[in-house]
Amino acid sequence: MLPTLRHVKDRNSPLPLSTLAWKSFRFWWRAHLAVSIGLVTSVAVLVGALVLGDSLQASLTELALRRLGPVGIVIRGERFLPVDLVEKLTTIPGFAASFRAVVPVLILEGGLRFQKQGMSGQSVVAGQVQVIVCDHRFWKLDSEVPRPTITPSQALINVALARRLAELSAGLAPEPGDRLFLRVDKPEAIPAESLLGNRRDTPVTLSLVLGGIVPSGGMGDFTLQTRQLSPLTVFIPFEALLADGWEGKCNAILLVENAGQSPSEIDAASWLENHLQVDPEVVGLRIEEAPKGYYLITYDGYIFPPWLERIIERRLVGLTYQPVLTYLANKIAFGDRFIPYSLVSGVKLGKDPPFGPLVDISGDPVAEISPGTIVLNDWAAEDLGVKVGEIVRLEFFLPESGGTKLQESAVDLRVAGIVKLDGLAADPLWTPQIPGVTEKESIRDWDVPFEPFHPEWIRTSGPPGPGNDEDYWHRYGTTPKAFIALETARQLWASRFGQTTGFRVAPGPNVSSVDDLRQLLRLSPSEAGLRIETVRAAALQAARGGWTFVFLFLAFSGFVLAAGIILAILFVYLAISQRAGELGTLMALGFTTARLRQLITGELAMTVTLATVAGIAVGALYAAGIIHGLHAWWLPVVGEPLVSLRLRLLTLALGGGLGFVTAGMTVAKCVRDFRAEAPAQLLRAFGPELLTQPDRRTGRAKAAFIAAGIFLLSATMFVVGSWTEGSAQQKAVWFFGSAICLLVAGALIFARCLRRKRGQGRWLLLSPLWGLAWVNIGRSPRRSLATSVIVALAVFLLVAVSVFRLEPSRFLPGQHPGSGGFAFLVQCALPVVEDLSDPQRKADWFAPVVAGRGSQSRAIVDAMRVSSFRVRTGEDASCLNLYRPRQPTLLGVPKPFIDRGGFRLRPWVSCTAEEKQNPWRLLSRSGAGGLRASSTIPAIVDETTALYALGLSPWGDRLLAYVDSSGRQVTLEVVAVLQESIFQGCVLVAEKELLRLYPYLVGYQLFLVELSGPTDAAATSPPWPWGEVRALLEEAFVDYGAQVESTSERLARYAQVQNTYLAIFQSLGSLGLLLGALGLGAVQLRNVFERRREFALLQALGFPRRRLVALLLAESLVLALAGLVLGIIPAGVAVLPSLLAGEGSLPWQWLGLSVALTLFAGLVASVAAVGALFRIPFLQVLRRE
């Protein structure tokens, strides 16, 4: 407490100015309290927004860290890794000092069918389940939970999955002993879409028994995905997968750093990058010494991936080597004779062993094969009866074919030579190992994965020699029957999977053994395609994503901030006017204006300080309220409570500091504007208008000029917004700018109207009550203006924001513009190899499902058109995920979909006429054609995702960085955005580009389903039976962990989140109106006090009290309605373009609410004024006057 005079009597300065300020502050506490309301509001919205941001970030951070457990670094690869790599890691010198645990896991996606014990035939399906295959080492990471013990036939599930299964089973909670049928993808070294890839046996079903439920809080919540939704996880032991080709494989190695040993996980990651040497076998290389005097490098995926081929060639520089591409020809035909299923090698022969030459039947060397020619071995030539110079036809499958049925092709080649089946020509190592083929004793036992396969073509009878395929296989195995030039082979058979099946390396100075070559081919982690991910650091980074919402929130809080400041200014002026007499006295006693300012500043400094402290507390409560609202509104969408209130001293101090500065600047402005008139006038206690800048005629003229200028600016912005070629958001910026200018101009015009003195009598003639009310509100134009502007700001916020509310639920599937005409989305956890956009394949796919159903199902399938998308799973960048995504999920857009067009797209780059017509074609751009660099890949993103989740903009950054399968950084450039679409959360690129980046990506995981026919006329005729369509789709994709969702459901989920944001912004508007009501009430109270003589006189003249009440009511309503008009007209300007474009609907309910709240504000003010009126002691007042 400041000292009172009594305490300082003995000192030299018995009454410092600060004491007077303190005493004045205490005495006029009501006035200061009123000022505080505005200031507290301003501080609270700032603090509230920052606390909200902090709470979001802290909650997201905590959640992300809890999901990771102690894991800080993860090693992942594009392909499966050997579990042995863990042992290799632990033997690196220094590893133990940096890391205390290293755990191999297989993290897969799958689908789960759940069956309660004893209830066979009844089961429920949960799609998109995370499968963690692990051993005791994984469970050891969680020190608090007892390590579960499960047998190979058992599985554990986490609490989230248990809850989900219970929901699906109508409350029947999973218990140990229940059956689980888990569908997971079988790991295949050879890509399923390549010739020798396995298309038929994936995925596989694991039949398991539920062994228990892993409690939440520990490793049960483990996931490497940064999203707030709890993962639905099944845990199975490695042993459960022994039978399905996973033996000894993992796809992630989790590392836990030693606390205090590593400076940071980033450093630990670079330490690993520098110290880990990856053996060639880890990346699938096989190195062997061939009997023919060379070393052979082959790949367990048959054909070398391009990135690995590049690395090998770099390592082999200085050595002599020979790349080979061996492919399977379905037929080598000459006339009507053909040899079935022969291997043909593309090679560049050398003149010297071990790479050549071949020897022809005349004994001459064949050291070169020209392009377009073929060299047959004598077995084949004899079988076909072909001679040198004649043309043979090679028939083969195309190297990249989607689905189980491959496409065939053929080429005619001139026979350039016939070589003896001897020496180099009789080397079976021209062909790498092909599981299911090369190890078979008989050609009849071949287990080929492709169709059509004709075993009847294979000749097994007849004498040994030409004409007996079985004999050839028995004697020569995989020895090719023909050789062609390497370049010809690559023209025919190179694909996204590669162009080389073997490297034959001659011994050299440094390579004299297999071990030498192994040493040469040891790779660094990045060369081997291993990603050392600092997952904890990434999670912390991603947890900052919540700030996008907070920044928006802060921006909209600006309106309330402004309202609070205006209210504070209003109350400061009122307080000063209330004390006009006192100020006059002080001036009479010799106080200068500057000294009076010091006194007022001293008082207001205390107000600001206390308001800041109170604002911090209120702000924290306010943030708690918003978080409560988020939970209430979001829970149905995001599934679980996420954010909890976090109060950090630093944030409170920052918010409080910002609030203090804002409040301080506000009162400083008031004090600066304080301009004391002659003390004689002050002593007569005139109104506040004398205490601030005088309303000079020149000032009025200037204000009118400014108003006209701002109005012109508003009109200009509106015109620019109307004509500009830009996104909805870009246009919205112009229209909002125009609207805000209009609001300011309107306020200035209103101020001018209030100050007009002449001609006011006419109002009285038109309506005595309203006319008098209008005249009376002109008594204190600044007060009236301030209150109306507060109401206007609130109304503007309420109405302008409401137009952006989304209501997709009113659309039937496929009707919403954001659905692109597609009715359903099928998202699969496991890839489907078949491209269902092909009508025949679609028919085949649905045939088993339709078979058991009626004709309606057949009609549905007939009307169904499917678009299949390849998916490179990444992060969810939709509004459902609050984490900031780094590499969102990529979708490969197939060519037919690009040609189809549809959806609402807005280009971000200049377009050709053709691209304007169908902006999807922008995805086909290549090279530097309109892109920022020749290497960038065009991409399309949902507008909301681009602007808010990824922070991109058409005029700024529109590039996205990705890492391709070879570990190289690639850049995507957003060329167009989709408006309010089902593709929110992912990045779309052309399918061919996606496959170029990730060649081993196999199959399709997203299907869009459209139905021709009744959908188009849904409004008038009965639409498709959507329940039946959904059931069909669910059954058809049940084995692929599918989630079937109508497009309107998907859009509704997104809309619910967006609408939650809007509701929160609108709650700010309501808060603003509350401030308006307060301001209005205070102004009316003060007016009544100042006019007490007038009211006393009117009563003495015989005015009934109800007449005075009506007058006060009219005055309050005029001010409130003026605010309503000042707010609604600019709001109309802001939303009109959206309404005209059909992108929003007139927000009647919000308009109604605004009007109701405004009237409420007027009523509150009137009640306050009338209460004051009734308390006036009229007789006393009259007597005193």
């Binding site: 005079l5 009594r6 009597k9 003995d10 000192r11 030299n12 300065s13 018995p14 009454l15 410092p16 100015l17 004491t19 007077l20 005493k23 004045s24 205490r26 005495f27 006029w28 007499g581 006192e582 006059g584 006295t585 002080l586 001036m587 009479a588 006693l589 010799g590 106080f591 200068t592 204006t593 500057a594 000294r595 002659a678 003390p679 004689a680 002593l683």
Partner: protein
């Protein structure tokens, strides 16, 4: 000595300039007390405000001890009011938030802070006017006469060269009014300053050395010793 020469004050109005004072001349000697009387609206308070540097004249000049302050800047005027002029209003205009003693010390805050000497003088003066026991009371706890006495002490605490009183007894009953006038005259005699009192009361006016009548903006001497010119 106060010299007022050709003093005039006009206000702008829609019907043209409103003349409140016209060619007022007045001289007041040190130790002299002057009463100015006149009907309501005659310009008495305006004249007092001009003399007290609370307002600026339209024409003419006001000199106190040879210093013309009609054209002084605001800061100098404030200093002049603070150090050389004391005011006593009909409404006491005590600050409700301050005690009596603090109210008396407020003038010292205009350009600094009160010293121990100022405090001593304030206490002495308050004791002299019978408010020794009321020093730590708030104005709201005082009677009308006590408030006006406190206001008188506040006006005199800086030892002003001139004391201006505007209807100092207007709100008081006759007995209290008499006490205040006596007190005011006593302090005036002790300090030998100039005293100008605007009043409607003939009784109060009769106690002054010179009485002037202001009517329609024109000042005329109407009684007692000759002091006006």
């Amino acid at each position: 000595m106060l010299v007022v020469e050709h003093l005039s004050k006009h206000y702008a109005s829609p019907a043209g300039p409103l003349v409140v004072l016209s060619d007022v001349n007045l001289t007041v000697q040190p130790g002299q007390s002057v009463a100015i009387m006149g009907p309501s609206g005659s310009g008495k308070s305006t004249l007092l405000n001009l003399i007290g540097a609370l307002d600026r004249p339209t024409g003419g000049r006001v000199q106190l001890d040879g210093q013309d302050y009609s054209l002084l800047p605001e800061g100098d005027l404030a200093r002049l009011r603070n150090q050389r002029i004391g005011f006593l209003f009909q409404d006491h205009h005590l600050l409700p938030q301050c005690t009596v003693l603090e109210n008396v010390l407020v003038p010292f805050l205009a350009f600094g802070r009160p010293t121990a000497h100022d405090l001593k003088r304030a206490e002495e003066l308050l004791s002299a006017v019978g408010l020794a026991a009321r020093m730590d009371h708030l104005p709201g706890e005082l009677s009308g006469g006590e408030r006006q006495r406190a206001a008188l002490v506040r006006a005199m605490v800086t030892q002003p060269r001139m004391l201006l009183a505007d209807e100092p007894t207007g709100n008081l009953d006759a007995d209290t009014a008499e006490q205040i006038v006596q007190l005011m005259l006593e302090l005036h005699r002790q300090s030998q300053n100039l005293l100008i009192v605007v009043t409607h009361s003939p009784g109060v006016a009769s106690k002054m050395d010179v009485v002037f009548q202001l009517s329609k903006g024109i000042l005329k001497r109407v009684g007692q010793e000759s002091a006006a010119s």
